[in-house]
Every structure is written in C-alpha cells, then in structure tokens.
C-alpha cells in the first residue's frame, strides 16, 4: 500500500512537471490553501477541546475552592473579634489537601483568591492574602516571574500586585525598562503599587519611553493607590534625558500643584524641542506661575504657533492682569485664527473689572468677525 502511494505521488509529480506554468502556480496555491484551512480547523478544534476540558475542570474545582475560601476566610470564626489577622489560624488539614498540590488547581486557586481580593479589603482582604502566603502560592507566582515568556511574567506581576507582595528591586527594576512595551507597562504599574518608599525610582533608569496610553494607566494607578509617596517631580524635569518621563512629570507636577517645581520648568523654556517647550508652558499655566509671565511674553515672538497658543492659554490661566494689553493686541492683530480665539478666551478668563471693560471696548470698536469670536467665547455652554 505504501509503495502504491509513493508511485501515485511520483506519477502526480511527473504529470505536474508537464503542466503549464500558470496551472502549476494555481495548483501550488490550491495546495497551500487546503493545508492552511486544515491547520486552522485543527487549531480551532484543539482550542475548543482545551477550553472544554478547562471548563469541565473548573466546574468540578470551583465549588471546592470557593468552599475552602468561604470556610477559611469569609466564615472564619475569629473574624470581627479584634484578633490581629496574623494570629488567625487556618484549618491545616483543609489547606494541605492533596488536591491543592496540583499546578492546575493552584492556578485556579490563585485566580479565585484574586477575584475575592478585588471585592474585599480590610480583615477579609488581609486574610485572603494570608491564605495565599500560607498555601505557598507566592512561590508559584515568583516561579512565573522567573520564566522567559513575557505573558507569564505579566500574569505573575498582576498576581503579586493584587496580593500586595513586595518584589525585590533586582527582579522588578530591569523589567520596568524592558523592550517589550506590554511587560514594561505592567512592571512599571506594579512598581508604583508595590514600592512603598520610592515608587518612581524606575524613572531614574528608564531609557524606554512611557507611551501615552501607559501614562494614562499609570496616572490612574498613582491617583487610585492608597499611600503612594509623591516625590518632587522637578528632579526628573531637571535631570532626565527621557523626554516621555519629563512630559509625564510635567503632567504630574500640574496635577499635584508642585509650586516648587516652577524654576525647573522655566529652565525647560530654553529647550530646542518646541513640542517639549509647549508642554512646559502648559504646565506653567496650570500652576498659575505668575513668576514666569514676563519670560513667556518675552519669548513669545520667537516661538512657533503651538507654543504661542500655549503662552496665550497660560496667560489666561495665570490671570494676573499684567498682560491684558498684550492679549488684546494678539486678538486684534494676529493673522492666526487659533491665536485670536485663545487670546479672546484668555481675556474673558481674567473676569476682572479691567478685562470686562476691555471686552466692552473691543466689542464697540472692532469688526463683525471679531465680535462673533468674542460672543462665541463668552458662551458658557461652549467648553474648551
């Protein structure tokens, strides 16, 4: 039978060689398509089977694991009796069950504990953490952190962060500068949440950028995590060579209103990168840095449009009233519509006696188009 098959293949090959080139190419394509289709179906079937086995296993194991957590943690007799969580004992027979030695079961156990931890804090949350450490699941997570697969490392980071288990700097810091952006973001987030004293230490060694989406995620973590030590971010504004770190620090300085950072930000105004300069001007405006006003007005004419607009917005935010005339000149004589629009908004933002009389005067003397711009900016329903 084997010989028959070989001779058939040989015959097919001989015939294939005599076919025209176009038909040969078409046949090759058909052959590849069939193989790829079969492989795809095989992969789908395998995944479905795998998921079916997992679901079946979960259906069997979940009640056992949930019962363990319910008995040992939720219904623990010592809860609510003012006994420190460290002194609460678990039923050793229950937690040393042979079933909980299997890696698959241990992983389901970790996942379930994390789900509970997301819902409970206080005594229950602490007891869940204690169960995690007493069942030595911590070792499973650290083993995952030592693997080469980045997905597994991220899983370990999430587990350890959720369980509030400190990770040594020697293990975590290198990951914060990984070339893999997903792993890098996850480890930076973990570092902020786990490092009690210096949560932003990785800024010192970061050569890889913090991507805009990661900045957003990190900002959420910084503002939502309890007891994060907030440093003076001007340190990185002055010394970091990583532009994304400096940009992110500028946003954090504005958010935490770190007035002491103003001199360091003013230094940034002489940087060559105009996008960077625009960020610095924006931050000065948000900090209402009156001290920087003169400098901003002085450099105005030598700036590109994006920086000019930021300067005008900043003057509106500072609202000292010293540069109302400058804003008026920009509104009346600038050829750029965005500059005019922002100058009008900045004058309105001052909301002082002088600014109001200036607006009345402009409305009486200026052309129809400028009047329309002012009316548009005065509309409280239009946000900017």
């Amino acid at each position: 039978m084997w010989n028959d098959l070989v001779s058939l293949l040989f015959l097919a090959y001989e015939q294939f060689m005599y076919l025209s080139l176009f038909i040969e190419i078409a046949l090759i394509f058909i052959f590849i398509a069939i193989i790829v289709t079969l492989m795809s179906y095989g992969s789908i079937l395998f995944r479905r089977y795998d998921s079916y086995v997992y679901q079946k296993r979960m259906a069997h194991l979940s009640p056992i694991i949930e019962d363990l957590i319910t008995e040992q943690v939720l219904l623990n007799e010592n809860l609510g009796k003012d006994i420190p969580v460290d002194e609460i004992e678990f039923d050793q027979q229950a937690i040393s069950n042979k079933l909980f030695r299997k890696p698959v079961v241990r992983q389901i156990l970790i996942d379930t504990l994390i789900r509970y931890r997301k819902n409970f804090r206080g005594e229950v949350g602490e007891l869940l953490r204690k169960l995690y450490t007493e069942m030595n699941l911590i070792e499973d997570s650290f083993a995952k952190l030592r693997t080469f697969k980045w997905e597994t490392k991220i899983k370990a980071l999430v587990e350890l962060t959720q369980m509030d288990i400190p990770i040594s700097d020697s293990m975590l810091l290198p990951l914060t500068n990984s070339t893999n952006p997903t792993l890098r973001a996850a480890s930076r987030n973990a570092y902020i949440q786990l490092s009690k004293n210096e949560p932003f230490k990785f800024f010192d060694i970061a050569t890889e950028p913090i991507l805009p989406w990661d900045q957003l995620e990190m900002f959420k973590i910084i503002t939502n995590t309890k007891d994060v030590t907030i440093p003076n971010f001007s340190r990185w504004v002055s010394y970091s060579n990583n532009k994304s770190i400096v940009t992110f620090c500028l946003k954090l300085i504005a958010h935490y209103d770190q007035q002491s950072a103003i001199p360091a930000i003013i230094e940034l105004l002489s940087t060559k990168d105009h996008y960077f300069r625009a960020h610095a001007i924006n931050c000065l405006g948000k900090l209402s840095a009156e001290i920087a006003e003169e400098k901003l007005v002085t450099i105005y004419t030598s700036q590109p449009v994006n920086c000019q607009i930021e300067i005008i917005i900043a003057l509106g935010r500072i609202s000292s009233g010293k540069h109302l005339e400058f804003l008026k000149q920009e509104f009346l004589f600038s050829s750029n519509f965005d500059v005019q629009m922002n100058a009008a908004r900045s004058i309105i933002r001052h909301n002082s006696q002088n600014s109001r009389s200036m607006l009345t005067e402009i409305m009486e003397t200026t052309n129809e188009e400028n009047q329309l711009i002012i009316k548009h900016c005065q509309n409280p329903l239009i946000k900017y």
Partner: protein
Amino acid sequence: MPNILVIDDDDIMLKAIKNILNKDGFNVVTATDGKQAFELLDHTVYDIVITDLMLPHANGLEVVGKVRHNEANRNVGIIVVSSVGNEETITEAFRLGADDYLKKPIMAGELLMRIRKLIANKNSKTQFVTKKK
C-alpha cells in the same frame, strides 16, 4: 429575620456577601442582573437592597429608581456597592433615593455595620409612624 436582596453580576461577590450576611442571621436573596432584580422586587418587599451599579439588562441606578418608585418600598434601605467612584454617578444614586454608598473593594465589617444602621433607622421610622397614628 431581615430580608436582604443582593444584586451583583459577579457570582463570587454574590456568594461572598450571601455567606457573610447569612452568618450574621440575615435572610439573603440574590439576583445577577437588573431584570431578575425587577422580578424579585415586584413580588417581595425587602428590608435592604444592596446593588452594584454596573449590571446587565438594567443598571444599578435604574434599580434604585425602581425601588423608590414603588410606594410599598418607601422604607427599604438601599446600599449601592460599586467600583465606579465618580462623583456624578454617586450623586445620581443618592438623588434617586440610595441611602448609602460603598466603594469596592469593601470591608465586610463596614457593610454589616451600615446594614444594621439602616435597619435600625427603618425600625425607628416605623415606630414613629405607629405612635403618630
């Protein structure tokens, strides 16, 4: 035994709260979505309703509105439990008639304390109305 309706789409949270409240002597009924909760609320008057904000079919705010809309449920204590922490949503929940708000992750002891306080308030209100009559 006070009747409590707990509404949450997270089965782990439902089971956990049910166990904790049962241990403290409360009778707990659970619902996993807004629709199921509406059906239960149509047939039974509960002492306390604990609801998540993000639910399938109808959200927690709709549940709060539904409870308060029914005259029979005027004295039902409503606790909103959610990981959504924005002020607007919380204010809206209170405007619709929620009595309390807890942010996830919750503390079991705190939840029990607030439930007891709401039940005590409800009982004192009922006594006041009876005396007035």
